[in-house]
Symmetry: C2
Subunit: 415 residues, 2 copies
């Protein structure tokens, strides 16, 4: 079953905003076993819109359109659809009433211009917007493979996503001939794509055209996407996941939309432990990621950004002999920083980072990319090094992930 996605808006064409809707929709459809074959973006211009819409419906049995449903004269999706379907626009009184109440609750009168958002092409169903004014519209069209489904959604990503999740994905899954697909994403960290592929070589025994495994690497780890289609999908998916867990348990920190910082937070909370950070090269990024997790104040005490050596010495208690003999970027300094912040802030665990992120600051013995991270707890203090690359921003990303993973692994040793 093929799908097409059409996103509408001049702001996308001129690069004022990056279109994340198309990728989000493409991913969700793919997960359901429906194949997106084309993504198109056109501006707020009737001829282009009409042509693109006709092409999208010709090639896809599912057509997802976002944008152009606002109240201004630039918002032409309703009119183009009405004209293409030869379906007159009628005002839906329930939609008008819903919008009027929405404005009332905020102590405002509904602007006359919003009324156009209550117009629905004949034969389409309107679904009110729980968080905005533009309703979603759903219709059907003839297609060689059976009835086609077209959904028109607002372009604001969180409104679009809410409509897709709460209403549209279910309708698409219920279409005649829609495949039954199950999918899970296992999240790994601390192992490269190729090492993971070698480790999971035996997974081949579980794979065939209807059971597949994809490796999706990025700077924060490698995601493993398991997909099974057709009869017995659930048990085939389960068997594959069991095999992967048995081989790669050590590197798996979560599933789906989980994050490493949230996983670390759960481990700390379960063990009733707190953490503090001593950051040189990551400059606060590790603390920032930890405190992105809602409720993190329960297990983050705080941290020290020890950019200058004076802060390493005076706050964290790194000895001047250590800095003199081994340098600020060294195993010894990383250990003393982790010990120091644990002692200073009174946390159960201390973690540290020190490295040369670039573009400057490298030397022959310690080139750009040299990185040490440390961890200190009641059990032990250790430091580990890692070779990063040349790009400062990517290096901060990789270094922060590495030290959060070091913390994750160390927490396994606590009861």
């Amino acid at each position: 079953m093929r799908a097409t996605v059409l996103t509408i808006g001049d702001e996308l064409l001129i690069g004022q905003i990056v279109d994340t809707n198309a990728a989000w929709i493409g991913e969700r459809l793919t997960v359901m076993g429906i194949r997106p074959i084309r993504l198109e973006t056109v501006g707020d211009e009737q001829v282009q819109m009409r042509e693109a819409l006709a092409r999208a419906m010709r090639d896809g049995r599912v057509t997802v359109v976002t944008g152009g449903l606002g109240p201004t004269h630039d918002d032409l999706t309703r009119e183009v659809v009405a004209s293409l379907f030869n379906a007159p626009l009628r005002e839906d009184p329930a939609l008008v009433e819903g919008m009027r109440r929405r404005f009332e609750r905020r102590g405002m009168q509904m602007p006359a211009s919003n009324r156009v958002q209550a117009l629905v092409p004949d034969g389409f169903e309107a679904i009110p917007n729980p968080v905005g004014t533009a309703p979603a519209l759903v219709g059907s069209y003839p297609h060689p493979q059976g009835d086609g489904l077209i959904v028109l959604l607002p372009g604001v990503p969180y409104e679009m996503q809410a409509f897709m999740q709460d209403h549209m994905l279910g309708r698409i899954a219920a279409m005649d001939g829609a495949p039954e697909v199950l999918q899970r994403t296992l999240l790994t960290v601390g192992i490269s794509e190729s090492a993971l592929a070698d480790l999971l070589d035996g997974a081949k025994a579980y794979l065939h055209p209807e059971t597949s495994l994809a490796f999706l690497p990025n700077l924060r780890g490698v995601r493993l996407r398991l997909t099974a289609v057709g009869p017995d999908a659930a048990s085939r998916l389960e068997d594959l996941a069991t095999f992967i867990h048995a081989r790669a348990e050590k590197w798996i920190y979560g599933e789906g939309q989980d994050t490493l910082e949230a996983a670390v937070g759960r481990l700390l909370k379960e063990r009733n432990l707190t953490v503090a950070t001593a950051e040189s090269c990551t400059g606060g990024f590790v603390a920032h990621r930890l405190t992105d997790v809602p409720g993190s104040s329960e297990w983050v005490i705080g941290g020290v950004v020890a950019y200058a050596n004076s802060v390493k010495q005076q706050q964290l208690g790194v000895r001047s002999e250590t800095l003199g003999t081994f340098g600020a970027v060294s195993r010894q300094t990383a250990c003393e920083m982790a010990d120091g912040v644990r002692r200073l802030l009174g946390s159960d665990v201390g973690i540290s980072t020190t490295g040369i992120m670039g573009p400057g600051g490298g030397s022959e013995g310690k080139p750009v990319g040299t990185f040490w991270m440390g961890i200190s707890s009641s059990k032990r203090t250790v430091a580990v090094d890692m070779a990063l690359g040349m790009d400062r921003i990517r290096n901060k990303e990789r270094a922060s992930t590495a030290v959060l993973d070091l913390l994750r692994r160390e927490l396994q040793h606590f009861g």
Copy 2:
């Protein structure tokens, strides 16, 4: 002059990666006065590629294609172009030699599969890739408005961008009938889009169809894009920029691709001052942004992430009476944090953040979104409040920008 952009790759269709190339190219073309009318994405599939390519060239006098130039059997752009242009593929010996040397420098033999990347459709020009193996290809085609230009680029964003900037934008600008367009982007912070629009109402006197001003807001501020086309573009642009500077100087921190953190860094460096951060609610994000700037170790001493009140008291010296009487999220605490970190780390300036970022932690008197930021220097210590929203991640973004802007403005008072 109209342009079309075609991005190729299954990974884009299935949402494995978000296509940032199309927006980047769309923006660059728009800046040059060339109008992108459609962005399309298709997978690694010949029929779809061929159809989309023909359509792109039909509608655009400039056609930019990215992706599908790699060495594997999935990379079909060369073949589809050769077939559509009826232009046989020939091996370019200089390209082969360049690739061979590239592998040699890394101590490797060139894999046989890479050789396909040296194939060039007859009539196309190949431009070697300085940072990868896939060359860019440039060709021309007949178009009703004059010769059309087609450029084929690798899909890796930084390779694509390098080719566009170093080679393609110049060729596009040199096409017959390409408009002469000048553009500048002024970056503002600390003022809302609507307040800025009111303030700059007088700019209307400078605007007409060939001189325009766009307001582009995001969480880090409002960018002002000034565009002038045609004869006298330079002097019209200059007049408009002079007017805007005269009215809004206070809020303008830079131009083009500058960042607020880099601007703050320049101000500190010019004044020979250093900064330290005391972060509660931003959790290290302010220090992270400052240390993203290359060379920031010259003016960032470090910081304290004072998430727990114990850290505010013991490290930063916030008094328990202050916390008891006014609370951790208060003017008084923000001031004492800023003073405290300046004293503790010996910096010239201290900045602080404390607030309730959500989703939990709000109360009747201090709802989610309550935020105080402080600054301490030899001149004075002050704190300012601001009402943020309900979303934790957006709140951290806005709060960090606000305190960096507070620092920027305070630095104006130093000689």
